[in-house]
């Protein structure tokens, strides 16, 4: 079995994995990183979104072996030392979640969206989050949250989003 070395939320892990093992199953079942959930099997819902070397990927469509030698940030690694990332704070403040199942992926995708566009319009946020589905909120408060976080992050641009 291939051996992989993957840094996840600041900790480096070395493991033997089946070549077909999905990254999300590696995170959840081998590392206990259960904060990243699985919502579909066709890469449509985005609940499993994580950052791979700082870029958002759907971890259900990446094999664990493809992450060898690379760095993953999950929602659990966003706020080192218990401090919340501005995006997490904004989701809370704007009531951008209800059941919360899509939330980890939505937060990670939103962070990547702001990396590409620090000041997105409402339409740009809606287009940018098209790959992340939510069944509870109707998205309106998610859009508000991303705008709030964008404003906060523009005022404190030095903040590092990956751990």
């Amino acid at each position: 079995m291939p051996r992989v070395r993957i840094k996840v939320d600041g900790v480096t892990y070395e493991d033997e994995v089946e070549p077909r093992l999905l990254l999300v199953h590696y995170l959840r079942e081998r590392l206990g990183k259960v904060g990243t959930p699985v919502g579909c099997d066709t890469t449509n819902c985005g609940a499993c979104t994580v950052l791979l070397d700082g870029l958002s990927v759907k971890s259900c469509s990446v094999l664990a072996v493809q992450a060898d030698g690379r760095e993953i940030t999950t929602v659990e690694g966003l706020g080192p030392g218990g401090e919340l990332h501005p995006m997490q704070r904004a989701f809370h403040t704007e009531h951008a979640l209800q059941c919360g199942f899509c939330t980890p992926g939505m937060i990670m995708a939103s962070i990547d969206l702001l990396r590409e566009n620090a000041d997105p319009s409402e339409a740009e946020i809606r287009e940018g989050l098209e790959g992340n589905l939510c069944r509870c909120t109707g998205y309106q408060n998610i859009v508000r949250a991303v705008r709030r976080a964008a404003e906060e992050m523009r005022q404190a641009p030095e903040r590092e989003v990956t751990s």
Partner: protein, 786 residues
């Protein structure tokens, strides 16, 4: 009776306590559980909509690496029982056996026929390929109208018919209303089949623990599930503990007793080790119960001035292949709602439940009421068009005026309160109705290829399910009360236990707000516990927008009991008469002597220590209470939708959407607004995007999220939401419920808008979902035939 004065917590937009774990990934989804020795289950499912099973060979699968056991339906036939249906709606309802795993027949694609138990989910899935099942295919029954015709093939041959039941309600002289009616509007509308699609797939874990079993499930109904598991399996109820940990949405789909839940319990018993099953999304689309799926034949009779005389409703409702927990009752929840907010002298409702070789249907957000609301609100627009009246005006001429409440409706309900005028006036103002009508006229005049349409929906619904006596009269298997208990700990902190089972609604926040106000304790000092039958032993769970209107009132009652008892203790400690004590801000003080006081925390400690209690008073301030409502609650509102329809491509864009809802008193406006947004999204999705599609062989072709289109952020507009606040008179808070309102109201608003845009072209209906192709066809078939 109604207290509308908001306290310091009730009415405030508290940010939710639940969020802390949900935004950081410190969640407890059922699929997160890993227990020592735990095995994973995978199900082999029928590829046929209708077939006889003539043989199953699992020998090779049993030899596969990592496989612990393989079971077929026949292996479990003696112990698996039949899945429950708790709502026998008529005495002669036909109710076929429903084994959790098929034994000799399969009746829909996706029905389980065998399962593999293995050391991990990959090994379990691999071994499914090694099971050989021989099927003798039978003709699938897929069309409801054909299914009830003479000589139809049968889903259940032994029943001799595809009809499960026919249920009738009649009031007033409908024949007289229809006879010589100056205006008759006759329509056939189809409520397409929908898939609820909670974001969290179903998951269940069952572990033998001591002399019983603990079962974790992504369920809305831990209490009902426990009772039903005991009934189906014969395992005594007190040996079962059911836990609903964090549950990622339900929308009715997790208001169910699923075969996989029963089987997880049976496998854990057989194998003596923990069992886990988590569905894949495609598996879920096949096997989570579906919603809606009705054919509606409607006749509305009216005078030339628009006054409604009467309404006749004939439904065929698709049950799917089996009756599940409340399958047959769902369309009947609409029976009381087809009259909407309107006065009329005669009403007739007939519903036939029909078996087909499709996934069973059951509750989906709104459950019977969206279907009814769609019908009446579409008909009101058609009536307006027939009479060349504004659709608002025709509604005004028929709706119950605010001074007429309480009002006994033709469908046999008593609407306690409402103010349709106020909600409509507010919505018209926010929408800029007259301006949009002017723009519409202008575009029509110019023959603009992009036409503007305006859709109206003045809805009401019945929620707060439900008065137990009413449920009993409808043959429902249980009551509709709810339970709460309040534990005032010696330190003065408070634990609230609720029988409601939250899965995204924010109970942990809203219940703490109610408690903080009633007991005068800080919000932060209240912790809300739910969703575990060992912690919360009594409850009727969460569905039907009942949590606040029933469970919230149980909590109010429990808090009031705490205060009553604390008052006795405080009076004793203060050496004062009870009636001389005032209780404000968590403090009992002697009237006129404000310095003589005890806080509720001090009283709690005294009640715990029990050194000096009045005679006959037991230690502790803890209380519990139930609430069984006398009536349903009736949220209402006015929703207005403007769409732009491209007459060349059929593409529909929602230009603006205004929702003014009246849900009575609001505990947390942030949560209420969120519920409205999410409800709108699902109702709009029925109008524009979603449909569970079966092919001619009975295969579901929308098994993935690439085929079954739940809307993304890019597919939905910005909503303008506002409220009027007419308190319910049937509970002490004046609350009504908000979980389903948006979904119920929005579907007809959108379709009315589309039809309104195209009416000059002769279009008077577009079937849902109104995809560009369907809009284009409606337009071109009209023009072709003109």
């Amino acid at each position: 009776m109604t207290e509308t004065v908001a306290g310091r917590e009730i009415g405030s937009a508290r940010r939710r306590s639940e969020d802390a774990r949900l935004i950081t990934g410190r969640t407890q989804w059922t699929d997160n559980l890993q227990l020592p020795g735990m095995c994973h289950v995978a199900f082999l499912r029928s590829p046929y909509a209708h077939a006889r099973i003539t043989g199953v060979d699992a020998a090779e699968a049993r030899q596969r690496p990592g496989v612990v056991a393989v079971f077929t339906g026949a292996d479990l036939a003696d112990e698996q029982g039949s899945l429950p249906c708790a709502w026998p709606v008529t005495e002669d309802m036909r109710h076929p056996d429903h084994p959790p795993m098929a034994v000799d027949h399969v009746r829909y694609v996706g029905e389980p026929v065998a399962c593999v138990v293995a050391r991990d989910r990959y090994a379990a899935a691999d071994a499914l390929e090694a099971i050989d099942v021989d099927y003798e295919p039978l003709t699938p029954v897929l069309d409801m109208e054909q299914a009830v015709a003479d000589g139809a093939d049968l889903v259940h041959a032994d029943l001799g018919t595809n009809s499960s039941y026919t249920w009738v309600f009649e009031n007033g002289d409908l024949d007289a209303a229809l006879r010589d009616a100056p205006v008759l509007i006759e329509r056939r509308y189809v409520q397409q089949r929908l898939i609820p699609t909670a974001m969290e797939p179903r998951a269940v874990v069952c572990a033998p623990e001591g002399d019983g079993f603990t079962l974790w499930s992504a369920t809305q109904i831990p209490h009902i599930l426990r009772l039903m598991l005991a009934t189906v399996t014969g395992i005594p109820e007190h040996r079962l503990r059911v836990i609903a940990p964090d549950v990622g949405g339900g929308f009715g789909s997790k208001l169910q007793v699923y075969g996989e839940e029963v089987l997880a319990l049976l496998l854990a018993r057989r194998l003596g080790r923990p069992i886990k099953w988590t569905e894949s999304r495609s598996e879920g689309n096949l096997t989570v119960h579906h919603g809606r799926d009705q054919i509606q034949r409607l006749t509305l009779a009216a005078e030339r001035d628009g006054t409604i005389r009467g309404l006749k409703v004939d439904l065929l409702a698709d049950m799917g292949a089996y009756l599940m927990l409340v399958t047959p009752g769902i369309p009947l929840l609409g029976a009381f709602m087809f009259n909407g907010i309107y006065k009329m002298d005669a009403y007739s409702f007939t519903c036939t439940g029909v078996f087909t070789n499709k996934t069973p249907t059951d509750a989906y957000r709104g459950a019977g009421r969206p279907e009814a609301t769609f019908a009446i609100e579409r008909l009101m627009d058609e009536l307006a068009a027939e009479l060349d009246l504004d659709p608002i005006e025709v509604r005004r001429r028929n709706w119950i005026r605010h001074e007429e409440f309480p009002y006994d409706t033709i469908a046999g309900l008593t609407y306690d309160s409402g103010n349709y005028e106020a909600a409509t006036d507010k919505a018209l103002h926010l929408f800029e109705y007259d301006t949009l009508r002017a723009e519409q006229a202008d575009r029509r005049e110019r023959r603009d290829p992009v036409q503007l349409g305006i859709g109206v929906s003045t809805f009401t619904e019945m929620c707060g399910l439900a008065p137990s006596r009413v449920l009993g009269s409808l043959s429902y298997g249980a009551g509709g009360w709810e339970h709460a208990s309040v534990r005032v700990l010696p330190s003065g902190k408070v634990e609230v236990v609720t029988g409601s089972s939250a899965h995204g609604q924010g109970h942990e926040t809203a219940w703490a707000q109610i408690t903080a106000d009633r007991l005068g304790v800080p919000f932060e000092d209240v912790r809300v516990l739910h969703g575990d039958t060992s912690v919360s032993p009594k409850g009727m769970d969460t569905y039907g927008s009942r949590s606040l209107a029933v469970g919230g009132i149980a909590l109010v009652n429990a808090c009031d009991k705490v205060v009553d008892k604390a008052r006795r203790v405080a009076a004793h400690l203060l050496e004062a008469a009870e009636e001389d004590l005032e209780f404000t801000g968590g403090r009992f003080s002697v009237r006129g002597v404000p310095d003589q006081a005890r806080t509720i925390q001090e009283v709690a400690l005294a009640a715990f220590a029990a050194h000096d209690l009045p005679d006959g008073v037991e230690p502790s301030l803890d209380s519990d209470a139930t609430f069984d409502p006398d009536n349903f609650s009736f949220p209402h509102g006015t929703h207005l939708c403007a769409v732009e329809v491209d007459t060349e491509t059929g593409f529909v864009r929602i230009r603006s959407y205004v929702a003014v809802d009246d849900v009575g008193l609001v505990v947390n406006p942030l949560i209420v607004e969120g519920q409205v947004h999410g409800g709108l999204a699902q109702g709009i999705a029925q109008a524009l995007y979603e449909e569970a599609v079966y092919d001619a062989e009975g295969n579901l072709t929308t098994t993935t999220m690439a085929d079954y289109l739940i809307p993304s952020a890019a597919d939905l507009p910005h909503f303008v939401t506002d409220r009027t606040e007419t308190p319910a008179t049937t509970n002490p808070l004046g609350v009504k419920g908000v979980g389903e309102a948006g979904t119920i109201a929005s579907t007809p608003a959108v379709v009315n808008a589309i039809v309104d845009a195209l009416r000059p072209y002769g279009v008077r209906d577009v079937p849902m979902p109104c995809t560009p192709e369907r809009v284009w066809r409606a337009l071109n078939e009209q023009e072709g035939s003109a």
